[in-house]
């Protein structure tokens, strides 16, 4: 039992890395565009399918298929900005939420029409690493390392480039950013493209771990929400830390009870957090 818990803990940390990456995209979009991307998890699902499709139907080598999936998801992110977010930039928040929620309906059913309701996956066998009584799946470890590396690259992008600087300044004060000669629309496109590409990256890391089906994304949307709120909406560092907390908590709960109970626990934490500390674990008291 103890080994099982320890393994759940390690898996939680490893999965937490990927969740951190996922939440990062949602958080970035919220921070910059001030929009809650309700269909973010569905983007991961689409990314998964694209990589699967490129690999199996077009016989691309897996890494090329992954790169292709990431590019396509980035473009789709921009398309969402163009067709849905731009027209609703000044609309009530509720309409934005509902528009992106209807996008969920479109994307899930699109996947169903294109690829069917069956579970699809690319069978990759990756070794299991053993430390004494502890077994770690190398697919999880690879995903974790990849996610951390991607986050590092994102950090450098945000802090060392002009676009990154512009993104951070728009997130803080659009009005003044405009006065500095920044065109927020361009920044929004870049943000959505980055957010989209990130879902592609997450999907690529998920390939050796999961199989995909049209409703694959829903739980990831919720998980990303929980993490983002837990860390404080728009607070990238808070999101990073809370991803690991949520990863570990759900992973251990799932071992002790069931995955549904683990999800319920995460959502209850989310609700309590919204009520008691809406600014998140790291946020300053408003």
């Amino acid at each position: 039992m103890l080994e099982e818990l320890l393994m759940a803990f390690i898996n939680g940390i490893l999965l937490g890395g990927v969740l951190a990456l996922l939440a990062f995209g949602l958080n970035l979009i919220f921070g910059v565009v001030k929009i809650i991307h309700m269909a973010y998890g569905q983007f991961v699902m689409l990314g998964f399918y694209f990589i699967y499709y490129f690999h199996t139907a077009w016989h691309m080598p897996l890494l090329v298929a992954m790169a292709g999936g990431i590019v396509v998801m980035g473009l789709l992110g921009m398309l969402v900005q163009l067709l849905i977010i731009n027209p609703l930039l000044n609309a009530p928040r509720l309409n934005q939420l509902l528009a992106l929620a209807s996008l969920i309906i479109v994307l899930e059913n699109l996947a169903q029409v294109l690829w069917g309701a069956d579970y699809r996956g690319i069978p990759i066998s990756m070794p299991i690493i053993q430390f004494g009584d502890i077994f770690i799946r190398s697919s999880y470890l690879l995903a974790f390392l990849g996610a951390i590396a991607t986050l590092g690259i994102l950090y450098l992008f945000l802090h060392k480039t002009y676009f990154g600087l512009a993104i951070r300044s728009v997130a803080q004060d659009v009005e003044i950013a405009k006065g500095m000669g920044i065109n927020p629309k361009v920044i929004y496109y870049i943000t959505l493209a980055a957010g989209g590409a990130l879902t592609g990256v997450v999907a690529a890391f998920f390939i050796p771990i999961y199989t995909v089906h049209p409703h694959f994304g829903a739980s990831f949307t919720l998980m990303a929400f929980v993490i983002v709120v837990f860390g404080g909406m728009g607070n990238l560092m808070g999101g990073f830390i809370s991803a690991f907390i949520i990863g570990v908590v759900t992973s251990i709960t799932a071992v002790l009870t069931s995955t549904e109970v683990a999800d319920i626990l995460a959502l209850v934490l989310f609700i309590l957090m919204m009520m008691v500390r809406p600014q998140g674990i790291l946020g300053a008291k408003a």
Partner: protein, 234 residues
Amino acid sequence: MLTVDAIDTYYGEFQALEGVSLKVEKGQTVIVVGPNGAGKSTLLKTILGLQKARTGSIKFQGEEISGLAPHKVVERGISMVPEGGRVFPDLSVQDNLRVGSYNPVARPNAQRQMEQIFSLFPILSDRKRQAAGSLSGGERQMLAIARSLMSCPQLIMLDEPSLGLAPLVVNMVFDFIQQMKKEGYAILLVEQNANKALKVADYAYLVESGKLVYEGDRDSFDKNPYIKTAYLGL
């Protein structure tokens, strides 16, 4: 250099500017005074393109800029110091300055410009890695002014730079405006503090409830009995 001709600006149904015209010549410092809510800030926002003028024209160096997006206007050489020294509080001082050089015209010179600014404002250099939000009010105003210089502007617009600052700090800010003037920048300064503003002005406008009510050079402004009692507190 800048010619504003009979612009009307609305917020929804509310008319904030009514037929306002003004001119700024090369190297000139022009001030706009008037009470709170007279439309002074709106005027600057309209010139920069943050607000759209419904009618009228705005020409900068002979080209129509009315209706252009703000980033296009900034590219042409107009920069703005927003009201209350609004900086990006979570960005470092250095990053705040760097944002000022975002437009493609200014970017190649950013490094040189920043060094110049640091020699001009040693205090900003000392704090370049600090978050701008941790600066004092006066320092923030300095940073906002310095940031506006980063875009290699020909015309600098300042929105109430003395607002909320202690008298000593206000003097510092105006000393610096004087210095910018000497360096040949054209300046359009909007102020409630007419006394201070007049000292640096070459030409002045008075705005009340969205309309120009008086204009003249510094002397005629100083001597106007209405302005004396209402704005100069003499």
